[in-house]
């Protein structure tokens, strides 16, 4: 796969532990890549570094082999960018904003703009200041997509969109991917990432903590397990099983959390007579929350984190 986006030791140090540190990332061409993290984790800082809005303290980033800092104009020819918050265009009408930005870029097909506005049901005749947040977000999508870029960099693109338009956006992302575009989108909405991304990176406190395919990410997932026994509950054997945590016993019922393979738990359960067993897999959202929960809560072992 040809690399669409690559960073090496990319760092923006704002001091006092704030910023982005030693980011090594590679996104393949044609990939839909999700960039996850809670607020303040460094998602927007990463995107601004890629877009050459801010300059790295050290390290480098490139888009399709072009250095983002050395040749920013060339990079931006390849990129469609949607910021987290669209700027103020005051009294300009939507159609004027589109023309203005298209003028800056050059070579934008008007038919493509019309098609995007139709799909998103965006009235370009209204003044920018009259737009609701959702409509501003739609305009941002039009501006990012109108020139059919090879790489889309989208900072929380569906924030403010209603569910119907979110679905439309997901379709548009799939279509962009189908025509060969690469999509790099930041989000903290995991359901969205689950729907459209092939790989995700998770960033926390400015550091990359995980990068994996969506199915690989399931390694950090866990299962809530409830087991009902006919006789004695083999609590000690279950507690001793690898990957089993938070074991508690109430009467004949044992509950626990299982990470990774079920085999050690199943082996331990052979010590008793199981009459009922329910395993519940939490959503990625819950997994994500658990991932960021304080270690003292004991939801995430170092072993799981390392995986």
């Amino acid at each position: 796969m040809t690399g669409a986006l690559r960073t090496e030791g990319l760092t923006k140090d704002y001091g006092q532990g704030r910023g982005l540190f030693d980011l090594d990332l590679e996104v393949a061409a044609g990939e839909v890549f999700g960039y996850l993290g809670p607020n303040g984790a460094g998602k927007t800082t990463t995107i601004r570094l890629l877009m050459d809005m801010i300059r790295p303290t050290r390290g480098r980033a490139e888009v399709f082999g072009v250095d983002c800092q050395a040749k920013p104009v060339e990079v931006k020819r390849l990129v469609g960018y949607m910021p987290g918050e669209l700027p103020q265009f005051g009294g300009l009408r939507g159609r004027e904003v589109v023309s203005y930005v298209a003028g800056l870029r050059g070579g934008v097909d008007s038919g493509r703009i019309v098609a995007l506005a139709e799909r998103l049901d965006l009235d370009l005749g209204r003044r920018f200041r009259e737009y609701s947040r959702g409509n501003k977000q739609k305009l941002g999508l039009v501006l990012a997509l109108m020139h059919e870029p090879r790489l889309l960099i989208l900072d929380e693109p569906t924030s403010g969109l209603d569910p119907l338009n979110q679905q439309e956006f997901h379709l548009m992302v799939h279509e962009a991917r189908d025509r060969g575009a690469t999509i790099f989108l930041s989000s903290h909405v995991l359901s969205e990432v689950e729907q459209i991304c092939q790989r995700v990176a998770i960033i926390r406190q400015g550091r990359l903590v995980q990068i994996a395919r969506l199915d690989e990410l399931h390694h950090i997932r866990y299962h809530h397990v409830e087991v009902d026994f006919a006789g004695q509950v083999p609590a000690d054997a279950v507690r001793a099983a690898a990957g089993v945590e938070q074991v508690s016993v109430q009467g004949q019922r044992l509950t626990c959390v299982v990470r990774g393979s079920f085999s050690p738990l199943l082996t331990a359960l052979e010590r008793g007579e199981v009459i009922n067993m329910v395993s519940h897999e939490p959503s990625l959202e819950e997994t994500f929350l658990a991932y960021y929960r304080d270690d003292s809560a004991g939801m995430l072992s170092e072993a799981a984190r390392a995986s």
Binding site: R95, S99, V101, G106
Partner: protein
């Protein structure tokens, strides 16, 4: 809430207080230099000022005993300083409502436990306190100036005029609050409030030269303010007029509070009925939007048009006064000598050079400062980020700003000079076309010099750019206007940035000044370019 509101007025308070203090101090301290030391010199000076004053009555009221320190301070000090405080009041009022609505702050306050009326009361109370502070500092400027001039002022009289000054300032704030209820943007509110206050200002000033307007002038807060002349010997403190000022302020604030309470946040009190029309999906076909510089000019076309029309009206107004003022100068040996020594032989032309081109230079500087404010806002509001997210170099952004400023300044200066060229013959003024063109063209580098300074400052301190440039412009203008009158040394006059412009209409191009302006432009935009290249852009 009051503490937060006071904090919001902090920058305005500091700038307003500094400008007012400097204005009062300079005017008061300069009295001795202007009027001389002996009673005879001062009597002669007073007679000259009495003769000159009607010619500038469109700006400041007529003097009472200008041969005395107190009379001079009342005339030149308190007769001018209210323009500064009222301008600040207007900007503070429109900012307190519309700017904070645009930034979503009002929504935040109202989403908490703060009610609309309480919010309005807090903002008005905070401004009144800040304005009282500025008025006190202004009075201190007068006393400091008087002490420096070995004179003294009556404390009670200064307090009386200060009370009137506070009254006209809060009345202007009330007018600004009211204007802010009628339009949806800060820029629109400032424009509407500015037009109303300017109309009231001219209603007062023109009533001094046209008795037919005297009755109408009573509705002008500036007329009510100028009725108090307590500092001047024989002057009066018009208590009813002062009470009327505070009453007007209270009424306008209450009306604004009512409008604020009943209207939607983000909307005007008077809403236009939206015409239902089919949704538009096509981009604008306007070719200007796709061209560098022209797109920026198109976007600010109404603002540019307002500046151009304002400049043309002012040019016509000043031109209409030129001949009568020149006649006065011809009849006054001292003034004639002073002007001829400094600027040339033809009093008509000298007046045009000093009054119009002196004022035009200040207008162009003010326009350049407004553009610097726009650049700073582009950065803060994410517009710059959006621009350089396109395949556009950072250098192009800075250069386009410079070229846009040059183009817009050329339009404003050019149209002003067209009015001057067209109207001058009727006033028996015959400027050489070539020199008129040169004098007009040289206004552009002056505007660009302010732009260059702004480009350099906003790269590091975007919030400071406008206050710093405003200080440079106002101080420079004051130095140029009052310096020669007070016989300041040439090095002091050279401190004015406007000195670099020279008087090209009468004495030709001041090449040293021109090259100095060119250097400021190159260095300023050079710093701006370098800073833009290396700095982070993040809203």
């Amino acid at each position: 809430m009051l503490r937060i509101a006071l904090r919001a007025h902090r920058t305005g308070f500091l700038v307003g207080a500094a400008l007012s203090f400097v204005t009062m101090f300079v005017e008061t301290e300069g009295f001795a230099a202007a009027a001389g030391q002996t009673p005879a010199e001062r009597a002669a000076f007073g007679a000259q000022m009495q003769a000159l004053a009607p010619q500038v009555a469109y700006l400041i009221p007529l003097p009472i005993h200008p041969e005395t320190l107190a009379g001079y301070v009342q005339w030149r000090g308190f007769g001018f300083v209210y323009i500064i405080t009222c301008f600040w009041a207007l900007m503070a009022a429109t900012g307190a409502i519309r700017n904070e609505e645009e930034r979503g702050l009002i929504e935040q306050w109202l989403a908490s436990t703060v009610g609309r009326l309480r919010l309005m009361a807090a903002r008005s109370a905070a401004f009144t306190l800040a304005a009282a502070g500025v008025v006190v500092v202004t009075a201190l400027g007068a006393f400091a100036g008087a002490a420096a001039a070995d004179g003294s002022l009556d404390l009670g009289a200064v307090l009386e005029v200060s009370l009137a000054l506070l009254g006209v300032t809060v009345a202007s704030f009330g007018a600004g609050l009211l204007a802010a209820q009628l339009v949806t943007t800060r820029r629109g509110a400032s424009a509407l409030g500015g037009v109303v206050l300017l109309a009231l200002f001219f209603l007062d000033s023109l009533s001094r030269v046209n008795s037919g307007l005297e009755g109408w002038s009573r509705i002008s807060p500036f007329h009510l303010y100028n009725r108090t002349t307590a500092v001047a010997p024989g002057g009066v403190f018009d208590l009813p007029a002062t009470i009327a000022l505070f009453a007007a302020a209270a009424i306008m604030t209450v009306l604004s509070a009512y409008a604020f309470a009943v209207r939607d946040i983000g909307a005007s009190l008077v809403r236009r009925r939206r015409v239902t029309a089919a949704a538009v999906r096509t981009p604008s076909a306007n070719p200007l939007l796709r061209l560098p510089v022209f797109s920026a000019l198109y976007e600010q076309r109404w603002v540019l048009l307002s500046w151009a029309i304002g400049t043309m009206l002012l040019a016509a107004f000043i031109l209409s006064l030129a001949r009568s003022t020149a006649d006065l100068i011809r009849s006054n040996e001292t003034l004639r000598g002073y002007l001829q020594a400094g600027f040339g032989t033809d009093p008509n032309l000298v007046l045009l050079a000093l009054f119009w081109f002196g004022f035009a230079a200040f207008i162009l500087a003010a326009y350049a400062i407004s553009q610097v404010a726009r650049w700073a806002a582009d950065d803060a509001e994410g517009r710059l980020e959006m621009t350089i997210a396109q395949p556009v170099s950072r250098a192009r952004v800075v250069l386009e700003r410079g070229f846009t400023l040059a183009a817009a300044s050329s339009v404003i200066a050019g149209l002003g000079s067209v009015v001057v060229a067209a109207g001058a013959p009727a006033q028996d003024i015959h400027p050489e076309t070539g020199r008129l063109l040169v004098a007009t063209a040289l206004l552009v580098p002056l505007a660009l010099a302010f732009g260059g300074l702004g480009a350099a400052i906003i790269a590091r301190w975007p919030r400071l750019a406008v206050p710093v440039l405003s200080l440079v412009a106002v101080a420079g203008y004051l130095i140029q206007q009052v310096g020669p009158l007070f016989r300041w040394p040439s090095w002091a006059l050279d401190l004015s940035v406007f000195t670099l412009y020279g008087t090209p209409l009468t004495t030709g191009v001041f090449w040293t000044g021109f090259w100095a302006l060119a250097a400021v432009i190159v260095v300023g935009f050079g710093i701006g370019l370098a800073a833009m290249h290396y700095r982070d852009v993040a809203s």
